[in-house]
Symmetry: D2
Subunit: 207 residues, 4 copies
Amino acid sequence: MRDADIYTQQGFGHSSGFGARPALLIVDFVVGFTDPAIYGGGNILDAVANTRELLAVARERGLPVAYTRVVYADDGADAGVFCQKAKGLERLTEHAPASQIVAALAPRAGELIVRKTQPSAFFNTMLAPWLSGKGVDTVIVTGCTTSGCVRASVVDSLSHNFRTVVATDGVGDRALGPHEANLFDMGQKYADLMTCAEIAVRIRQAV
Amino acid sequence: MRDADIYTQQGFGHSSGFGARPALLIVDFVVGFTDPAIYGGGNILDAVANTRELLAVARERGLPVAYTRVVYADDGADAGVFCQKAKGLERLTEHAPASQIVAALAPRAGELIVRKTQPSAFFNTMLAPWLSGKGVDTVIVTGCTTSGCVRASVVDSLSHNFRTVVATDGVGDRALGPHEANLFDMGQKYADLMTCAEIAVRIRQAV
Amino acid sequence: MRDADIYTQQGFGHSSGFGARPALLIVDFVVGFTDPAIYGGGNILDAVANTRELLAVARERGLPVAYTRVVYADDGADAGVFCQKAKGLERLTEHAPASQIVAALAPRAGELIVRKTQPSAFFNTMLAPWLSGKGVDTVIVTGCTTSGCVRASVVDSLSHNFRTVVATDGVGDRALGPHEANLFDMGQKYADLMTCAEIAVRIRQAV
Amino acid sequence: MRDADIYTQQGFGHSSGFGARPALLIVDFVVGFTDPAIYGGGNILDAVANTRELLAVARERGLPVAYTRVVYADDGADAGVFCQKAKGLERLTEHAPASQIVAALAPRAGELIVRKTQPSAFFNTMLAPWLSGKGVDTVIVTGCTTSGCVRASVVDSLSHNFRTVVATDGVGDRALGPHEANLFDMGQKYADLMTCAEIAVRIRQAV
C-alpha cells in the first residue's frame, strides 16, 4: 500500500479548515537563512517572494502578523544543545547581519517580532498569548526551513489549538527531499496545505 | 549536491553526545498504535521488541523511565484541532483498550506515565520538570510514530536543553518513507542516532 | 503613605475590563480543600455556595467552564518539590475521596476537568489552549485557596493574555489574613475584583 | 487559631532543602524598580545591597547566575493585559534607562539575562531549560518586588521542580505589608526562607 493510502485508511489527512480570524506567521526569513553560503539555498528565495505577496494581502486586511528571528546572546550565554547539533547557530546575535529579517519583508509597527533560540516559534516565547490576545483562531505559516523551524512551529501551532495552514509555496528549504517529506507529514497530521494564492482568496473571504 | 552534503557543509549533523545521567522516554507504545487495524503497522512491532530489551537495561541501571499515552476525556471535552486532522483520535480515552500501554512494556511503580493529547510528550505536560527534578541530562527516545509523536517529542527534548538520542531501531512508523525521512531530519538537527544495542553499551558506561 | 496609595501613584490598580467571550474557571473546589480537617476551613464553604450560583448563570449563558483537581499518580511517581513543602499533598490521587470535585459543583459533559500537580491551573496543562480554542478573552476565577492555587492561576491567566476577573466572594482560604492580602495583590496588578453578583450581571450583558 | 498554626496543622511549612547544585536568580533589579519615582521604594535598595554581597559569593563559587529585565518592544506591539493593569509598564523598552539592570549588579559574560513581559521569570522564557542544562537543582531568588515578580517566579521555580530558596533580605517591595504577606505565603508553600548570610554559608558548603 502506498504511504498516503495508509494514512487515509487510518483516518489522517482531514482538513482542519480556515477560521474567522487568521494571522500570518513568517518563520526565520532572515538573511542567514536565505543565503546559500550560510543556511540558505534550495527554494527559499522563491518562498520569500511568494510570502511578500501574501504579506501584502494580510496587511491590507488587517491580519495580525508575526515574524521570528533566531537571536542568541552576544556572549553565547544561552547557547544550548541545539548549537551542538548545528555548530555556529549561536553566531546569530541581535545585531549580526545574518539574523536580520530580509528587507523584502521588513516588519511594520504593531507587528510582532519573536526572538527565539529553539526550532519552534512558540517554544517558550510569547507568540501563543499574543495570538490568543488578538482572538486568532487560524495561523497561516510561511518561512524556512520547511523541515526545521516551520515544521516545529506548525506542530506547536496545532498543539496550541490553532487551525493551521501551511503555504506550500511560501515555505522553503535548503534541500528539496526534506521539504517534500515534511509537507507530507504536516498535511496528513497537523495542517492544511494551500498555495499563497489560495490563501489570499480565503483571507479576503474570511476578513 | 546530495541533501546530506548540503547539511554537512552548513554545519549540521554534529553529535550532541551522551551525558552522565540518561533517562528513557517511551512514546505512545500503546495497543492502538501497534495494531495495524487502528494506527499501527510498518516496523512498529519490531521497535517494541527492541525497546523491551533496552528497557531491561535501563531498569537494571536505575535510569528514570517515562512513558506516554494519548488520553482524551470520556466526553471528548478536550478534543481539539488535532482530532480534526486525525479523526477518531479522541476515542483514545483512559480506559479504552487501544490507549493502554502494550503488555510487553508494562510500567513499574516509580516510572512516570504521561497522559497527553498533542503530539509531543513534553507539550504542556510535567515531563520536563520531572526529568529536571531527577537531574537528567540526556533523553533516550523510543516509540512511535517516528514521523509523528517521536519527532515532536525529540524537537521538544532538544528545546528543553536535554541531549537527545533516538534509538533508530526502537522507533517505528506505519509507513517507512516518513520513518526514514524523519530519522534524517532528527539526526541532522536535533538528536544523535544510535541503535538500541549501541545505547545499551553507553548506558552501562555512563551509569 | 498607605500601601494602596503607593500603588495608585505608581500606575497600578487600573481595570483590565470584561471582554465579549468570558469563561469560568473553578480552582480546586474538591472535598479535601473544603474539609477543615484536611486543607479546608476559613471562608471556603461560603465561596463554594457563591460559586454554585455563578456556575448556574455561566451554564445558562453557555460559557465555557473549567475545573481543576489536584491529582497525583497512585504510586507517587510524580510527587515533586511541592510535596516536600506541603507534606501529604501526594495523597490526592485519581480516586481518593479528598480529590473529588464537591457534589454541589459536579461537572457536566463538555466542561473541562484539568488534573494538575502544581499550584497554577495553567502550569503545563492544556487549559490555555482549550480556552484559546473556544475564543475566550476573559477568565473569571473562583475557587481555593485565594493565597495559593487561585493566586497562581490568576497570575498565569494574565500572563496568557486573558483579561482576568477574581470573584471576591467566590474565592476562599483557610486563613483570612492571606485571603485579604492576596486579593489586594491581585486587584492591584493582575485582575479585576468583582462579587459573584456583579459578575453575573456582566455575563448577562456580554453574552 | 493563628494563621501560621492552621498551616502547620495542615502539613505546610516544611523545608524543601538545599541541593548540591544551586543557581542564583536576580529578579527585576533594574533602575525603574529601584527608583521610588517609578516603581521603586520601600526596602528595595537594601535588598540590592544584600544581593550584591550574595552575588559575590555566587560568582566566587561558580554558580550559574541569571537576571531578569522587563523589556517590551519599542512600538508596544507586545503590550498585553498586564499593561492595562499597570499602566506605563510598556515604557520599559530595550534601551530605556529604567529597564537597565542596576550598576551594582552589572551582569558578566556567561551570566544569563532574561527579557520578560510578564511577572514570572520563567513564563515563556528560556530560564528553566537553561537551568536544567546546567544541572541546577536549587534556585536562590533575590529581587523585586516580593509581592510581584519575585512571588510569581518562586511559584514557577517550584512548579519546575527546583528546590527554591527566597533570600528574605535580598528581596524587596515598594510597600512592606505585601512584602511580609508574600514572604509568609512563600515560606509556607513554595520556598525555604533564609537570609543572604545564611545562604552564603550554605553555598560554601554545597559547592
